[in-house]
């Protein structure tokens, strides 16, 4: 059965025609999940999913998500379903409530079939640091290359056509980078556009709910469902929800797109540069105005350190609830300090502890001014600079990554422009809470790479419009390992 190779919209039509039932889909998805050899899953919701699917009899014409299987990154709270955020400190934790996005999808009768792996507590970009070990890239049968993270299991699930879409979270580029390495559409909207209630916080001011699809249209459909004010997330926005499909398939004549010169200059991969330039040329042919703009290299070079300071500082506080007292493995001790110390020493990996130490250090009274508050200032400077660009342009277009998926254990030079600027520029979308989307641009040696578009807050409809045109230009619609278009 090849139905799972379809996009959400295509699948919906088959369900309406009753050529396939939700139960068929769920059974097949679970089969594929069980056969997965990329280490994409924390927990396969076999019984739960079958129970839901069996109840779905009459297709709902006006409900695009009816009977569609999907997977959930394991840092979303799911009622009665074990949720560990791929960290040992949460082993055995079974949440008592559903994240708002999970509830919305289940209310729409979409069917979650699994919880997916992530970098431990979503802190990481490699997909190698979760407590179940490395999650692999379905495009690389030899398991030599990473898929990227932190939403590694969700990316792998969609790239392997186990499901047509997956929930992820994006604090630095945790959806948009793996989307680049896995040939997917990876999208996060404006901060506050989708409720974060039930998303395990990493760095609150940077955290976004995001997701993977195999088409821009599907990304727009999902936003129609998930966007909106949530009274239980007071940072969620009450800006009216749009129909995000409304501009799709309209032309982009006169649309203004900015390319940041210093970022493109920091990318040395010829295949990526060629594909990028080719796309620009096509965009111009379709009537878009594409121009280079400049941002001070020093400011761009500050992206990564600024991100480290803010994200680690917020993370150390956000994860202070993980103390072994209320949930997660309990370790006996004579004092509360001993109980907490044991839980946290045993429960977190060294990488996580390092982040907490950095975060704590940045928040200390004597360091706050020079580290944490200075990072906030730099963040503001960067956001102001980007907002200046958005005064004249509808979107910024850039390669999503300077390379295809790196080899496992291949260390990048963390002081090079390629790393500091080209490999970390998507964090701008988190600093400013800008809507941002990655979509496939090309392949190099059978590995995909993507481009990234970012727009001003609440301009998702415009962003998706341009993305849809790029998808049309590249022809990389509904890309997966089973649907290769190389």
């Amino acid at each position: 059965m090849e139905f799972l190779d379809l996009t959400i919209r295509e699948l919906h039509n088959e369900l309406l025609k009753k050529t396939v039932t939700p139960l068929d889909l769920v059974k097949e998805a679970i089969l594929r999940a069980k056969a997965d050899n990329n280490n994409a899953f924390e927990y396969i919701m076999e019984k739960e999913a079958l129970d839901l699917a069996i109840k779905l009899k009459e297709p709902e014409a006006d409900n695009i998500f009816w009977g569609i299987p999907f997977v959930i990154k394991d840092n979303f709270s799911t009622k009665d379903v074990p949720t560990t955020a791929s960290s040992n400190i949460l082993n055995g934790y079974v949440p008592v409530f559903d994240a708002t996005v999970v509830r919305k999808l289940m209310d729409a009768k979409a069917i979650p079939i699994a919880k997916t792996t992530l970098d431990e507590l979503a802190m990481g970009g490699s997909g190698t640091t979760g407590h179940l070990g490395t999650t692999f890239n379905p495009y690389d049968k030899q398991h030599e290359n990473i898929i990227g993270g932190s939403s590694c299991g969700s990316a792998a699930s969609v790239a392997a056509s186990i499901v047509p879409f997956a929930l992820g979270s994006d604090t630095g580029d945790s959806v948009r980078k793996p989307a680049s390495y896995a040939g997917l559409v990876g999208f996060k909207p404006t901060w506050g556009r989708i409720s974060r209630l039930g998303l395990f916080p990493f760095a609150t001011s940077l955290d976004h709910v995001g997701y993977f699809t195999r088409s821009v249209f599907d990304a727009a459909l999902l936003l129609n469902l998930l966007a909106g004010r949530d009274l239980e997330d007071s940072t969620s926005s009450d800006v009216p929800v749009d129909d995000y499909t409304k501009l799709l398939n309209t032309d982009i004549k006169g649309v203004k797109i900015a390319i940041i010169k210093e970022i493109v200059d920091s990318i040395y991969d010829k295949s990526i540069n060629a594909a990028f330039q080719k796309t620009i040329a096509s965009l111009k042919i379709r009537g878009a105005k594409v121009e280079y703009v400049s941002i001070d290299r020093k400011l761009l070079g500050a992206l990564f350190p600024t991100y480290v300071v803010i994200s680690c500082a917020e993370a150390t506080s956000n994860n202070a609830n993980l103390d072994g007292i209320k949930f997660g493995p309990y370790h006996q001790g004579n004092t509360y300090e001993e109980v907490m110390n044991k839980a946290r020493s045993k429960g977190f990996s060294e990488l996580i502890k390092r982040r907490f130490v950095i975060g704590s250090f940045c928040l200390m009274r004597e360091n706050q001014e020079v580290l944490f508050l200075r990072a906030q200032k730099v963040r503001k400077m960067i956001v102001e600079k980007v907002n200046d660009i958005f005064k004249d342009y509808d979107a910024i277009f850039l390669p999503a990554s300077p390379t295809t998926a790196p080899k496992l254990g291949e260390a990048s030079d963390r002081l090079s422009d390629e790393y500091l600027i080209a490999d970390n520029h998507m964090v701008v979308g988190n600093f400013g809470g800008f809507p941002s989307i990655t979509l496939p641009l090309g392949f190099k040696k059978n590995l995909p790479f993507g481009g990234n578009l970012t727009a001003k807050p609440f301009n998702e409809a415009k962003l998706l419009q341009i993305a849809n045109v790029i998808e049309d230009i590249t022809g990389f619609y509904n890309l997966s390992v089973r649907n290769k278009k190389i």
Partner: protein, 475 residues
């Protein structure tokens, strides 16, 4: 050498809002452990805070009562530290921008003193710990209960002043409908910072903190003891150690809890899950306008408008519920002094005897107002009024029913009618007239009694005495 005590108080007030500061779980004292808990209160991953509007309104009311300036932006911060009673590993509080700043409170001891107040801020309570020898139990019912913290400047100089200050704050939060103010239940908690310095010296001495004070009387006792203790140390050349002490009720002494080492670094930063909230002047004004009348304002009204004695006013104001009862009754009568006498006399005596709270008193304020009116209009005598009151509390009747049951008619106040009775009786008891003329005053009582009897108790006794004496003189 004479010393001056320098005392600052930090008061935590637990609010009696319907729900918690940042979650929808109900707030209630004395419920079964861990029954009033939402996922937020246990800090389950992914939960988020939403601000309780009533708690903000309450804070504004109290800040206004303390003459503070009120911030027009509501901003919360995280106070980060690990402790077993702190589920999130941080407390959401207000560090940089407390909702209230720079206020004061006037207290009366021998003199009138103004105590400056530094800040008032909103925060959430921790969970409650019950320590046993082998283990500790945690009750999350208290986790997230809204708190107001009020921090005074170090303007307090004695245990008595501290007591008056806490009494005044307590009265404000109770009358403003913010808290029940029960120290014994932990609704109002007070920490004391105290140091001594030689009189005339600016420089502050070493500060000692006293925690866990569970009654207003103990605040005074603890401070008085601590002043004597520090004085003793200073006079014998011993250093004061910076530490936290507690007051031991049995010993009536403060005892070392822990010696302060370096101050904890709480790594404060702005709470990223709550975007700053603009408090419009309309909202602030409405919050202030919605504040029920405070005791201080009531007192002024009782004394200056209603003419009550200071004693009666004070008794009535000792309890918000009693003053509410009085105010409700006062809507039904203009005879405020008489009403106050009844409330502080008969009513209180009955309630105290039976140990019934005023809110459960079954004579309604309007019925008491009615009774007072009847007495004041001389429709019934004071004695009859008391009889009716007795009947009402014994058999839970209305004034009308009691009056009928006791066969109390409307009192006769007509001079002519009474005089007819008087003349009849004097004619019937010539011996008593003689007794009176011989200087035996009790004859008057006897004769009044006879008039009352003849009239079936309907004549106004005061008027009767007066007319009888006049008539006696004529005979």
């Amino acid at each position: 050498m004479n010393f001056e005590a320098v005392i600052g108080l930090e008061i935590h007030v637990e609010m009696k809002t319907r729900s918690k500061m940042f979650s929808s779980a109900p707030v209630e004292f004395g419920a079964e452990a861990n029954t009033l808990v939402s996922p937020n209160d246990i800090a389950f991953p992914g939960t988020m805070p939403t601000v309780n509007k009533q708690a903000v309104i309450n804070a504004i009311r109290v800040a206004n009562a303390l003459h503070m300036s009120i911030d027009n932006t509501l901003v919360f911060d995280r106070k980060n530290y690990f402790y077993s009673d702190l589920p999130k590993g941080y407390q959401i509080t207000q560090n940089m921008r407390p909702i209230g700043r720079e206020g004061y409170l006037e207290i009366k001891t021998d003199t009138l003193r103004t105590i400056a107040i530094e800040r008032l801020h909103l925060e959430e309570d921790t969970c409650k710990q019950l320590h046993f020898s082998e283990y500790t139990l945690l009750d999350y019912n208290r986790s997230g209960v809204p708190l107001i913290e009020i921090v005074s400047k170090p303007d307090i100089r004695s245990g008595e002043e501290a007591m008056k200050y806490v009494e005044a704050i307590r009265s404000i939060v109770i009358y403003a409908d913010v808290s029940d103010g029960k120290m014994e239940e932990g609704s109002l908690r007070c920490d004391v910072n105290i140091s001594l310095r030689p009189i005339g010296i600016e420089k502050l001495g070493t500060k000692v903190e006293i925690k866990n004070l569970n009654s207003i009387a103990n605040i005074q006792k603890a401070i008085d003891f601590e002043i004597r203790r520090q004085e003793g140390l200073l006079l014998t050349g011993n250093p004061i150690i910076q530490e936290t002490r507690r007051f031991d009720e049995a010993l009536k002494e403060t005892i070392t809890m822990r010696v302060k080492t370096d101050a904890v670094d709480y790594k404060y930063f702005i709470e990223p899950n709550i975007s700053p909230i603009n408090l419009s002047s309309d909202f602030i004004n409405a919050a202030i306008a919605s504040c029920p009348e405070l005791a201080q304002v009531k007192e002024k009204r009782y004394l200056e408008v209603q003419g009550l004695s200071e004693r009666d006013a004070n008794i009535i104001l000792q309890s918000k519920d009693l003053s509410k009862y009085y105010d409700d009754a006062a809507k039904h009568t203009n005879h405020f002094k008489s009403l106050a006498n009844w409330v502080t006399g008969e009513v209180m005596a009955y309630l105290n005897k039976r140990n019934i709270p005023i809110e459960n008193f079954f004579i309604s304020p309007s019925q008491l107002g009615l009774l007072v009116n009847m007495i004041e209009k001389n429709e019934i005598s004071n004695k009859q009024g008391r009889d009716i009151f007795q009947e009402m509390i014994t058999n839970a009747t209305t004034v009308k029913e009691a009056k009928e049951k006791l066969k109390i008619g409307t009192q006769i106040n007509d001079d002519n009618v009474i005089l007819t009775y008087v003349k009849d009786i004097l004619d019937a008891f010539p011996d008593s007239i003689k007794d009176y003329k011989d200087g035996k005053d009790r004859a008057v009582g006897f004769l009044v009694g006879q008039v009352m009897k003849r009239s079936q108790g309907k004549v106004n006794p005061g008027l009767t005495s007066k007319l009888l004496l006049e008539e006696l003189k004529k005979r």
